[in-house]
């Protein structure tokens, strides 16, 4: 590995004060990926604090979802490193990275539609439930105890989102807003240190968005984890994010607090285009 890629970058002061002095939950150093000749993401250096709500914004096609795919090792980075809670995620599989403490939701909902709501959560709980393969066949050796434990934890997660009455419904038959919540609950079931939300407010009306904002804050406060979200709804981002990173054409064009981002001319230009000079 090239040594220059390992140089830590200063956090750029987007880490909230309560997380300073702690190991950041997520760091990327000069992260980049090429698809053939096309550089999709380049020189991405980020730091997310242990209990930070961070935002990743940028115009369409800026490479935001690609960043999420890099962070979860769906794509292998061409350059740079990712550190999750101080440990490198290089050469890990997607499932291993999840077990290291990163969970995510998807831009277009990807629930297990033919399974019940409860079973969707139990899939998320897969690695925290210790059930030997033989146990489920013989129904001995703590099968019942482990099933009961996973059921209880799953119901607890559902009640966090006010969905305990939907436990036995098919995930695919839920209304849209509930599917979005279930996807977050399923990701939380994997006991992550950071949860990545890909456009969680997409297709939501203002009151649903307000509820989502409340939920994101509650997730951070009650689970004491970091949240990183991709979102186009600027009122949501500016309202709840403590640190924001703006991406355009695969490169970071600005990092900082919501106030700093709002005032940054490069950001305004990326979103609205360059103002013509009046003659």
């Amino acid at each position: 590995m090239d040594k220059s890629r390992m140089v830590p970058v200063p956090s750029n002061a987007i880490m909230p004060e309560r997380d300073i002095d702690k190991t950041p939950i997520l760091e990327t150093h000069h992260l980049g990926i090429d698809f053939g000749g096309l550089t999709a993401v380049d020189e991405l250096s980020l730091t997310v604090g242990k209990t930070e709500i961070a935002g990743l914004i940028g115009p369409n096609g800026a490479g935001k979802t690609t960043v999420f795919n890099l962070l979860t090792n769906v794509y292998q980075p061409t350059r740079g490193t990712i550190m999750l809670d101080g440990k490198s995620t290089a050469r890990k599989t997607t499932a291993q990275v999840n077990r290291m403490g990163i969970a995510r939701t998807f831009q277009n909902i990807r629930l297990f539609n033919n399974m019940t709501v409860l079973d969707n959560i139990k899939v998320g709980l897969h690695n925290s439930i210790n059930q030997p393969l033989g146990a489920s066949i013989t129904r001995l050796f703590g099968y019942r105890a482990s099933e009961k434990k996973s059921r209880e934890e799953a119901l607890q997660l559902l009640s966090f989102f006010g969905m305990e009455n939907m436990a036995n419904m098919q995930a695919g038959s839920l209304p849209y807003g509930a599917q979005r919540r279930l996807e977050i609950a399923r990701a939380l079931a994997t006991h992550p240190g950071i949860i990545l939300l890909d456009e969680p407010a997409a297709g939501m009306n203002p009151s649903e968005t307000a509820e989502l904002m409340e939920n994101i804050r509650r997730i951070r406060d009650e689970f004491q984890i970091a949240v990183m979200l991709i979102e186009h709804d600027m009122s949501l981002v500016m309202n709840i994010c403590e640190g924001i990173c703006v991406l355009d054409h695969g490169k970071v064009i600005a990092k900082g607090s919501p106030e700093e981002i709002k005032a940054n001319p490069a950001v305004i230009e990326a979103y609205l285009g360059k103002k013509k000079e009046a003659n």
């Binding site: 979860t72 769906v74 599989t93 997607t94 499932a95 999840n98 077990r99 969970a103 995510r104 998807f106 990807r110 629930l111 297990f112 539609n113 033919n114 399974m115 079973d119 139990k122 899939v123 998320g124 897969h126 690695n127 439930i129 059930q131 393969l133 146990a135 489920s136 066949i137 099968y143 482990s146 099933e147 996973s150 399923r186 990701a187 079931a189 994997t190």
Partner: protein, 293 residues
């Protein structure tokens, strides 16, 4: 009475197809591939139990367990050596590999056991049941086959519905990438599926050869193809579908043999498949595939 006896024979043969079809359908549902070597795993299972009883004088039940263990290891090996490296390859490449593995197994069996058919002595040493003043005789093989099929069906349904591994299997079958992002090791899940399918193939091999006692290296291929047909017939990817498809196929085959023509029986079986697929392309219990835009 002949009708009843044909029906029982049909259900019994169909149960064997159903057990084999479960292997096809589970592997298809989870790994999204057609494992055409599955039929030959049946043949290996039958040879192992044949050797265990004939040369080692082991009791039948031990020989069946031994066959299951060997087939499980074989299934996991085939998956790990032949299919796993092709996980990201086109489905056509995997299909051709599966056909290659099938011929490989047949030829290895030819080398080890030779081309002379072996006479497989039934593993089931129970008397047959006679009803209606000996007008209807049900063989012990039929009874055991049907019972085995029912037990396997129930066990598999409970396993996939209730257990942690079963849930992981269903999750991988629905969305492999999302399951992986939830921390599920997809490779382990696929290996377990192959292990279960191959253990079932061993049972099917013993049951098949107990009823039709000729054992040669190609013994598995025709039942394999028919069980694949049964899986498609019932709706591939669906466990109850494989069961229903297998039993219906067995009944159709036996009835065609006794009422229409022995030579034409196989042709009729496959003609029925074509008709079903024309009317209902996803099979009897197949799920409708709807693509959201």
């Amino acid at each position: 009475m002949t009708f009843l006896s044909n029906l029982i024979n049909g259900i019994s043969l169909g149960s064997v197809y159903a057990i084999i079809a479960l292997g096809y359908t589970m592997v298809y549902g989870i790994a999204k591939m057609l494992n055409f070597a599955h039929g030959d795993v049946i043949m290996v299972g039958a040879y192992i139990s044949f050797c265990a009883t004939t040369y080692l004088n082991l009791p039948p039940i031990v020989s069946v367990v031994l066959a299951m263990i060997v087939c499980t290891v074989l299934g996991v090996l085939i998956e790990g050596l032949a299919y796993k490296p092709l996980r990201k390859a086109t489905s056509l490449a995997v299909l051709i590999t599966a056909i290659g593995v099938s011929y490989f197994l047949q030829n290895v069996a030819l080398l080890i056991w030779g081309s002379n058919p072996k006479t497989f002595s039934s593993m089931i040493h129970l008397g047959s049941v006679s009803l209606f003043d000996n007008k209807l005789i049900i063989t012990a093989e039929s009874i055991v086959t049907v019972l085995a099929c029912i037990v396997i069906m129930i066990a598999l349904t409970v396993f996939t519905k209730k257990s942690k591994m079963g849930k992981a299997m269903r999750a991988v079958s629905e969305d492999k990438d999302a399951a992986e992002l939830m921390g599920i090791n997809v490779n382990v899940t696929i290996s377990v599926t192959f292990a279960i399918g191959s253990a079932l193939a061993a049972i099917a091999g013993v049951l098949l050869c107990s009823a039709y006692p000729v054992l040669q290296p190609t013994t598995g291929s025709m039942p394999g193809i028919k069980a694949f047909t049964a899986a498609v017939f019932g709706g591939i990817g669906s466990i109850p579908g494989a069961m229903l498809g297998g039993i219906l196929l067995g009944i159709i085959e036996i009835f065609s043999k006794s009422y229409i023509s022995t030579q034409l029986a196989d042709a009729i079986v496959f003609a029925v498949l074509i008709i079903v697929l024309l009317v209902k392309p996803t099979g009897i219990l197949g799920k409708k595939i709807t693509e959201k835009v």
